[in-house]
């Protein structure tokens, strides 16, 4: 039996590989781990089963320092974004075998379009999922209070975006005082989803709800933003029962978090502006209401003043005319009484005059004047025929003298 040494075997494998992998091959894999040593980049590449997500293949890959700087020049910041744990990449590689280190993939090129396309596909799937499960506008149905005063801020405490946000809120020209509690979370990398969900849960359990929850981070590349396309994160945002405002620093692209949030803005500064403007609108509304109340009150007062003035004039006329009529009444009564008093006096006087005349007329002297005579005896006037006796001596009294005579004869009338 022929025997060979391990080194001979490895040399043989090396030759066999070199013969079969003459040219570079294009390979797709997921980055499981990344490390960097003296400019060289070491990757652990895996492939997972579509069904079980179990690792079904594994290999070491490396990008030598010179290749890395070439790629970085070519791809720009995308290069670093692509080389993240969890990213799927398409790369061209030479399969090499080293007698000591075994097989390794020397990466000489990475196709960013593959990674971006893959991400875009995942994005689309996530959007479809959110849409079919009614989550796209779910958070949007909660309304912001008229004034935003107390907010929860989810951000990295050291992010520049958070600093801008703070400064903007503190230095607002309207003097609004907005309180916030910072919930420090990672805003890039693989921890984003987990940390944001944990923070949202602790906010949800607070006794006093915030007026709004704000998720902010500074600007970043497209791949950096991919954390905010995560399905679980977006579901958590959609299912949250208070309005969430996001400002995750990007100018052109839209993350899925933007789609599910109550309000999406480009930058943390824009979120601060939004909050201030929201409160400003309330203040303007209040001022407008105040103005309206003043205008209406003034109109009302004017109307009532006019009415009162009219009533005063009416009252003046009415009272004057009432007084005048009373004065006339009294004058009339006074005249009446005076006239009647004089009249009564005059009538009484007239009556007296008549009586006087009548009495005067009845005086015996006056009767005698008219040719009548009085018959008297010693006892006085004789008015009764029977009281005159024959041969009695009687006096016949005329107006100008008395005749003494004796009764010769009596003859009764009838």
């Amino acid at each position: 039996m022929e025997r060979i040494s391990l080194f001979q075997l490895n040399t043989f494998i090396k030759r066999a590989l070199a013969l079969n992998f003459n040219n570079a091959v294009w390979v797709t894999a997921e980055i499981a781990q990344v490390s960097n040593s003296r400019g060289h980049i070491y990757l652990e590449l895996v492939e997972k089963s579509l069904d079980t997500q179990a690792v079904i293949a594994k290999a070491r890959g490396n990008i030598w320092k010179s290749t890395a700087s070439q790629l970085e020049q070519k791809l720009g910041p995308l290069f670093k974004d692509i080389l993240q744990e969890g990213t799927e990449i398409l790369f061209s590689t030479k399969v090499t075998f080293h007698e000591l280190y075994g097989i390794s993939l020397q990466i000489d090129h990475i196709d960013p379009a593959f990674t971006m396309g893959k991400l875009e596909m995942e994005r689309q799937e996530t959007i479809n999922y959110l849409q079919t499960h009614g989550k796209l506008h779910k958070n949007g149905q909660y309304s912001l209070p008229p004034v935003i005063q107390h907010i929860a801020v989810l951000s990295s405490a050291t992010a520049a975006g958070y600093g801008d946000f703070k400064a903007h809120l503190l230095q607002n020209e309207y003097g609004y005082q907005i309180q916030w509690d910072l919930f420090p979370v990672a805003v890039q990398g693989t921890q984003v989803t987990q940390e944001i969900i944990t923070a949202l849960n602790s906010i949800q359990n607070k006794a006093n709800p915030y007026d709004a929850v704000v998720i902010i981070r500074g600007g970043g590349s497209k791949l950096d933003l991919a954390a905010f396309d995560d399905k679980d994160l977006c579901v958590a945002i959609a299912d949250f029962t208070q309005p969430i405002i996001v400002g995750i620093g990007h100018e052109r692209d839209q993350s899925i978090a933007d789609l599910v949030a109550h309000t999406a803005l480009k930058t943390p500064t824009a979120v601060a502006d939004f909050i201030l403007y929201h409160n400003l609108q309330f203040e303007e509304k209040i001022l407008q209401w105040g103005q309206q109340i003043q205008t209406q009150a003034e109109a009302w007062i004017r109307e009532k003043t006019d009415l009162t003035n009219r009533l005063t004039i009416q009252l003046k006329w009415a009272s004057q005319s009432l007084l005048t009529s009373k004065v006339n009444q009294i004058n009339l009564a006074a005249d009446n009484i005076q006239r009647n008093a004089w009249l009564t006096l005059k009538n009484s006087d007239k009556d007296l005059t008549i009586f006087e005349k009548q009495i005067a007329a009845a005086h015996p002297q006056n009767i005698l004047k008219r040719g009548y005579a009085l018959i008297r005896n010693e006892e006085g006037s004789i008015l009764d025929f029977e009281k005159i006796n024959l041969h009695q001596s009687i006096n016949i009294e005329l107006i100008d003298g008395i005749v003494k005579t004796t009764v010769q004869e009596k003859q009764k009338n009838g």
Binding site: L323, V327, I330, A333, N336, N340, S348
Partner: protein
Amino acid sequence: MDKELTYEKAYEEIQEIAQAMESEQINVDELAEKAARAQKLIQFCREKLRTIQTSLEEVYRENESQE
């Protein structure tokens, strides 16, 4: 004059006296007394009206000066 006297009461009495005079229910003995009473009441009523007139004028003068 009676302290309790009001314009209305006074006016009523004046009317009674006037009516009594008109219907000749008042005899001469009462006439002077009644006429004097009526005159007093009329005086009272006129004074009242004058006072009210003055008050009204004051009220409306104040009102006008306020406007």
